[in-house]
Symmetry: C2
Subunit: 314 residues, 2 copies
């Protein structure tokens, strides 16, 4: 299969394969991304996070369906740092989405840890790029919980939805301030439950406290299961995007996200260089021999070693 041609011709299997190749660090996959990178920037990227049990995947599900009704295409990347599994619809919640997964305008992908340091974040970034090139209008990045690695990943979104649920009691305070702050839109799901108003009020109070200069996140009550409030949530996402565009914050947000990504790729390259040192000893042996013969000194040898790894790999 010609992956690149498939990707550009709406072939889901090509997109899935390319994501797997990226996860496995296959160089050809990076080459395809590099060649197609200029095609990115079309998709609206929405992060969906919040405590476990808040119903994040149901929210994603309903948002995706609403967007599909408008004729828009949707990619969903479900990120689970606690799972070693990756690939198709593995997460339990995804089973509910079976009607979505057969929809040709929807692409669903689950991602678990790949063992590599920073691997999940890099994989998620890679998957977003693939789905962006693939032409998806919306890309949802959904996390299982609100751990630090998940927060880091969800930050690459243009808009972050923080899904809360009544009955967490004092848990809003328990969710670290730094995590609440990444929410651009707050969704109080399961709003038919007792305490929904209190939860919304607590969020509003927190927003009063953490006032931003020119944007105040919306707090939307919804019952995702019954499709109640989903349109309002979609509207809140649109409003946030409109704010980003009008204020010029879109660009600065993208810049921050890209800077973080470049740093992460850099650091992973560094880690990989060290690993390669142990796998590929040919260059090292040649350089050691040159030092032994006093043709070069050890400092020059070390610099050349680094050069050779940087030239060959990405």
């Amino acid at each position: 299969m010609d992956i690149k041609a498939g990707l550009l011709n709406n072939n889901k299997r090509a997109a899935a394969r390319l994501i797997t190749m990226l996860e496995n660090g296959i160089e050809e996959a990076l080459d395809i991304i590099k060649e197609c990178y200029h095609l990115t920037g079309h998709a609206r990227i929405v992060g969906i996070t919040g405590p476990p049990g808040a119903g994040k995947s149901t929210v994603t599900d309903k948002l995706a369906k609403a967007l599909r009704k408008e004729g828009l295409t949707v990619g969903i990347i479900a990120v689970d740092p606690t799972s070693p599994f990756t690939g198709g619809a593995i997460l339990g919640d995804r089973v509910r989405m079976s009607d979505l997964s057969t929809d040709p305008g929807v692409f669903i992908r689950s991602m678990g840890t790949r063992g590599a340091l920073g691997g999940l974040s890099k994989a998620a970034h890679g998957a977003v790029k693939v789905l962006d090139i693939f032409g998806m209008d919306y890309i949802f990045i959904e996390t299982v919980g609100v751990g630090q690695s998940e927060v880091d990943i969800v930050k690459l979104a243009d808009t972050v939805i923080m899904v809360m649920v009544p009955g967490l009691g004092d848990d809003i305070q328990a969710i670290k301030a730094g995590i609440m702050e990444i929410g651009d839109v707050f969704a109080v799901n399961k709003s038919d439950r007792d305490g929904a108003e209190r939860t919304a009020a607590e969020i509003e109070a927190m927003l009063d406290f953490n006032k931003q200069e020119d944007y105040r996140p919306s707090v939307v009550n919804l019952i995702a299961r019954d499709n109640v409030g989903v349109d309002k949530l979609l509207e809140a996402i649109e409003n946030h995007r409109a704010y980003l565009d009008a204020s010029g914050r879109y660009r600065s947000r993208k810049r921050d996200s890209l800077r973080t990504e470049v740093i992460e790729i850099f650091k992973e390259n560094v880690i990989r260089s060290v690993a390669r040192l142990e796998e590929d000893t040919n260059v090292l042996e040649e350089l050691t021999e040159s030092v032994l013969e006093r043709r070069i000194d050890p400092y020059t040898a070390a610099a050349r070693l680094m050069d050779s790894f940087t030239e060959n790999g990405v």
Copy 2:
């Protein structure tokens, strides 16, 4: 002061300054080493290690004096990973060597940790090179204890003396097998104490157990304080060196040591690159802007970032 000219003209202060510059990672110092690297390879490098209290510095002291009587010059590098101090004669034991330190044919240097990962080992390697270029006939690397970092450092020697002492009881077994194995010569110091014979016998038993194909380390009894057995120890060092030369093991040992050094410099460069990423953000900002404009992709940006650090630094 022209450091390089001083170094080549027997100026101790120039050598001391160059070692300090190397410790501080000053690039000019590396340039001098690079320019003079072809002058290395003259010195015989002897490591002196063993448990604390075995009298290692007295052994070094007496060996140095015996060599001075033969008209040979001696460099002494005392390595103490437990001390943050570095520079002149700071270690307590070195005070006893005051008569040596005023001898123009002797160069003494203490080295503590420099905070940087792998820093002490790199500094010790650097100091050995400086003293080798400086023309010392013998260079002793003496450690305070037998910790892993000290073992790694002492391994750069051509010959490693493991100084033991009676009364360690079962401690010979306690010293990890991998550490005993680095001894090319065993010195049982304070041999006037009870149990000296037993200690020697235990070492011999260990040597029976860890038989090497073509070389068996000597076990020398000595009372360094009273200068008893020092000549025998010197003879054992010479014998080991003769074995290395005759068997071709000298070259393979040097190769192993250089390979390790190149790897360590490489890894330190890597660590420094990551640190530089946080200090010098100009290149990062430029590259991020290029990605934002989609002139390049994030992978290419990360690779260029690495290039820029490798080009500028050593």
